[in-house]
């Protein structure tokens, strides 16, 4: 049996009065790519934000790499170095150059050697086709370029697990493919474990090992990808797939 890297049990989450996640249970194996699908407002972002401590949850446990997480801010600071996250709104720090954006985590948080970290950052930039942009400021980059830097910034910490929350949703269509290829490459070449939230159904189908389908804060099904896209178990998932044209 594959090694479980993440395990979520009986997770419950409310915002003030609004209950948004109900009894969430799932696990992710090492090297597995999970796509999280569901209608807008179903709780996808909330769920993956719980997984790196950006949202508090009221009940349930998250176990990462064999250890149950005690959700204090201090613990999350450690765990976030292992769980990278990239957001829809590629938020580079506008006061820092591309290189300094990337180096902040490795050198200040992880105290990596600056010279080695810089070399690695350049390699990563090269990998995403931005080796010539190390010394520019984010405002000089296009949306797609910013998002690539945001991915590099997360990878520079050597995470074991990556969370992607609709990272192509605010990009111009011609930029989307490049970002998706980078994520695909991470799965194929690096065997990175990840959870991907996306509205790009072709991409989801291509990259996912497993699909988790969420609606109104409930997991309606967790199905191997092939099966989900050909014959989902629930009627709601079928309707959801029908509503997405791809």
């Amino acid at each position: 049996m594959a090694e479980q890297i993440l395990r979520v049990e009986h997770l419950e989450k409310s915002y003030q009065k609004k209950h948004v996640l109900h009894d969430i249970n799932f696990h992710v194996d090492k090297g597995e790519v999970v796509t999280l699908l569901g209608p807008s407002g179903s709780g996808k972002s909330t769920l993956i934000r719980c997984l790196n401590g950006l949202e508090e949850y009221q009940k349930g446990t998250i176990t990462f790499e064999g250890k149950e997480i005690v959700p204090t801010e201090k613990n999350w600071q450690q765990i976030r170095q292992k769980i990278g996250m990239v957001f829809q709104s590629y938020d580079l720090f506008p006061n820092l150059t591309v290189m300094d954006n990337i180096l902040l985590g490795p050198t200040k948080v992880q105290k990596q050697d600056k010279f080695a970290a810089k070399k690695e950052a350049l390699d990563l930039l090269k990998r995403v086709g931005l080796q010539d942009y190390a010394n520019v400021y984010p405002r000089q980059l296009s949306g797609g370029q910013k998002q690539r830097v945001a991915i590099v910034r997360a990878l520079a910490l050597h995470p074991d697990f990556m969370l992607f929350d609709e990272v192509t949703a605010s990009l111009d269509p011609e930029m989307v493919r490049g970002i998706l290829n980078i994520i695909q490459d991470l799965a194929d070449v690096d065997h990175m474990t990840m959870i991907v939230v996306t509205h790009e159904m072709n991409f989801a189908q291509q990259i996912a090992d497993k699909v988790i389908f969420l609606e109104d804060g409930h997991i309606l099904e967790q199905t191997p990808s092939k099966q989900f896209f050909s014959a989902p178990q629930t009627k709601r998932a079928q309707e959801f797939l029908d509503s997405m044209d791809f």
Binding site: K74, D91, F93, L96, K108, V109
Partner: protein, 229 residues
């Protein structure tokens, strides 16, 4: 008789004394600004924390210095505190203290406003790469807040410099107090001296404040251009 007014400025050591007074004014304003800005940044950061009692206390501190007129503050510290609490400082140091506390109060509000206007996403991106609270403020929030708040800070500096004109009320030998002494000493021989002395003081203040407010406007304009561009 025509030249009598302006000659007051250059008689004896008058001009040097006025420059000396100007130096006292500038020194008090500069030291108060430096101390006040540093203290104000720290208080502004503290005011963004969730701790409620701390926030209430700092808010009261701000409101006190904002509501009570500076003259009253100076009198309070100069005449009342020494008697009540046996707290004695020479006038210029006391003025520096009062101005620094006032700058810190105003600055805390500027810094807090700038910090909370840094988008929430910036904070989350910082946390997502494992930054702790100190690192988040140090590398992400404060640098971004500072570029937002520089114009307001410069405007505060010009207000402080202007307000130093109140120093004579607590007998500090600032440029206005010295000017006043020169006018009184020469009142009989040169009745029009008053215009020249105040004209020169006006020029001094203008030369210090005008470049500052020009600079603030320019930075603000550049920032807006960048935000739109």
């Amino acid at each position: 008789m025509d030249h009598s007014g302006i000659s007051v400025l250059f008689e004896g050591t008058n001009f040097q004394r006025l420059l000396g007074g100007l130096w006292v004014t500038v020194r008090i304003a500069a030291v108060a600004l430096i101390i006040g800005l540093i203290l104000g940044i720290m208080l502004g950061v503290l005011r963004t924390f969730k701790n409620r009692p701390l926030r209430v206390i700092l808010r009261l501190y701000l409101e006190f210095f904002r509501i009570v007129p500076t003259v009253v503050l100076l009198f309070l510290f100069y005449y009342i505190l020494p008697r009540q609490m046996n707290f004695n400082l020479p006038g210029d140091q006391l003025a520096t203290l009062v101005f620094a506390l006032w700058v810190a109060a105003e600055m805390s509000d500027i810094v807090r406003g700038a910090l909370i206007s840094v988008p929430q996403h910036q904070k989350e991106s910082g946390k997502a790469i494992g930054l702790n609270r100190y690192q988040l403020y140090r590398y992400v929030l404060i640098p971004q807040a500072i570029s937002l708040e520089i114009p307001a800070t410069i405007n505060l500096a010009t207000r402080v410099i202007k307000t130093t004109s109140l120093l004579m009320l607590i007998s500090v030998m600032d440029v206005i107090n010295i000017g006043q002494q020169i006018i009184e000493a020469n009142n009989h021989s040169h009745p029009t001296g008053v215009f020249w002395v105040y004209g020169l003081i006006f020029l001094f203040y203008f030369l210090i404040d005008y470049p500052l407010s020009w600079w603030a406007k320019r930075l603000e304009k550049k920032r807006l251009e960048r935000a739109n561009g």
